[in-house]
Amino acid sequence: QDNDVSLQLQWVTQSQFAGYYVALDQGYYEDEGLNVTILPGGPDIAPPQVLAGGGADAMLNWMPSALAARERGLPVVNIAQPFKTSGLMLTCWKDTGIESVEDFRGRTIGVWFFGNEYPFLSWMAQAGIPTDGGPDGVTVLRQGFNVDPLLQRQADCISTMTYNEYGQVLDAGVNPDELITFMYEDQGVATLEDGIYVLEQNLEDPVFVEKMVRFVRASMKGWKWAEENPEAAGAIIIEYDETGAQSEAAQVRMMQEVAKLTAGSNGALDPADYERTVATLLGGGSDPVISAAPTGAWTHLITDQALN
């Protein structure tokens, strides 16, 4: 059916994806005549793979991962970029004595892999710090899905999202002044996060394009609503969370933080952000994430129509 859209998320239902759930809940998709299915992600669900397998029409992805997929021969294209700012950061114990990036040498740092390691690796490459665990470099831990490695001091620093894991560290009773954080944005190594991607060949189909226009329009409407109504958006997330294990307070807080990241975006990709992301990734030293600047990795085709 040609009004059906399925969207593959990168993680389980949470406020990181509030815009879409709000659009669904508030009937924005319906208003556009769309029948949208949101597919939550999970560990080891690779959205590009789902897209390649035809399991979804569109996916959310971090741009480094999407560009890497593109180089691997899966031509995905960014059609919209609701997240303007990166929420990724490293959170460290202050009492370890870490004050600057240089102090990472000899430390153990938790990093998410699964396509989310690219920003970190580029950063370290630019800072000239090896990641092979030598005395001069950092020892990288493949971080699981929680903040325990930090709390239990198995790692000196871990990766956190401003909107999620950082809050969990605080929830565990840690005071912000016990911690020192390194925002990727502040380090000049920020890469674009949650963007909407589709397969390139689908964009040759005017029907699909038209469908995506409506989808992006409704989604952005959802995002803006969520930014303005974080409490309500958190409640909506709780409503859609089938596990029943999420707490509303945490989701509301997450929404408040996410709102800061989506605030600067109307949905259209800012080419300058794109160029910065590519530059960061290409600066990846001996083992760069992408070997050449990609072409055609994004388009304003959809947003131009959607935002009119």
């Binding site: 389980v12 709390l151 029943g244 294990a245």
Partner: protein, 306 residues
């Protein structure tokens, strides 16, 4: 029921060890928290405390011991915390609520049962083929063993993506993974069972000039029933594990697996532990059901007392 008392004894012993272990396991976190709350903690900085073992730190801060039992995010929750969480999510919630472990149990169980049905059917068919066809016997068995050395968690996302490609979502992909884990014990057990009639019993049928299908229905199949039940009992717990594993990459929406993952990701260990125990209890109950069915069937077949 003469096993009840020994079981209770062992359970009691484990509970005692568990309760004792809570203190050293949680002491570092407790000490950190106590310090933030302005209590006196020895030694004074978290970094120094890292040098201590949990036990050592407990001796240094005996006064903090009660607090180790009430942490919100313990490394090792105390038994009463887990029991409390289970009581709350099993007994106090409406069974249709998403907060109810009964609801999640049903989500997992339905995939388990479908997967088990597929797995056992496949396993039995394969066993029949192996027993009746020499080529199949020689070809399939080594690969069946190799198939079980493949980490299912690695295959699960691929299976789910591939099935998603054909528009199959929801229960079925989970069931397929659960079937993958449960077919093997059934094949092994059934091959053994179908081959359990001795040469004399087989010869007897030859003297009657019985066809091979008569041999199957009148001899091999009934003879394999005890083996079948043994396989069922292993297969059903394997199927449950499969369904739980499959719940992680299916979008971790609902079910025991989803609860375990989400409990872990959002720093809620009690949710994880409660789901873990609920899953083990479910497995035990399923096995118990098959044990009862086994007893009933064998008694009806006249094989119970033999």
């Amino acid at each position: 029921m003469k096993s009840l008392f020994p079981i209770l004894t062992i359970v009691a012993a484990i509970l005692v060890i568990w309760v004792l272990a809570v203190v050293p396991m949680n002491m570092h976190l407790t000490a950190d928290q106590a310090q933030r709350d302005g209590l006196m903690v020895m030694p004074q900085t978290p970094a120094e405390r890292q040098g201590y073992s949990g036990l050592g730190l407990s001796f240094a801060n005996a006064g903090l011991i009660p607090l180790t039992y009430t942490l919100d995010r313990p490394r090792l929750p105390s038994p009463h915390q887990v029991a409390g969480e289970m009581w709350e999510t099993i007994a106090l919630r409406n069974v249709t609520s998403r907060q109810s472990l009964v609801y999640h149990g049903w989500v997992t169980l339905s995939a388990t049962l479908v997967g088990f049905a597929i797995g056992t059917t496949l396993g039995i068919l394969l066993a029949v083929g192996i027993v009746h066809n020499r080529a199949m016997d020689m070809s399939v068995m080594p690969w069946a063993i190799a198939s079980q050395t493949i980490p299912i968690l690695a295959l699960a996302p691929m299976i789910i993506v591939m099935m998603g490609q054909f528009g199959i979502q929801g229960l079925l992909p989970k069931a397929v993974i659960s079937a993958y884990l449960s077919f093997f014990p059934v094949v092994v057990g059934m091959v053994k069972g179908l081959r359990s009639p001795d040469a004399m019993q087989m010869d007897l049928l030859r003297t009657y000039y019985a066809s091979s299908s008569q041999g199957f229905w009148k001899l091999r199949l009934p003879a394999s029933v005890p083996y079948l039940f043994a396989s069922f009992k292993i297969g059903i717990s394997a199927a449950l594990v499969g369904a739980i594993v499959a719940e992680l990459p299916t979008g971790a929406r609902a079910g025991f697996g989803a609860r375990m993952l989400v409990g872990d990701q959002y720093g809620n260990p009690l949710v994880t532990w409660a789901a873990l125990f609920a899953a083990a209890i479910t497995a035990a109950a399923l096995v118990a059901i098959f044990t009862a069915m086994e007893r009933l069937t064998l008694r009806r077949m006249g094989m119970a007392a033999a």
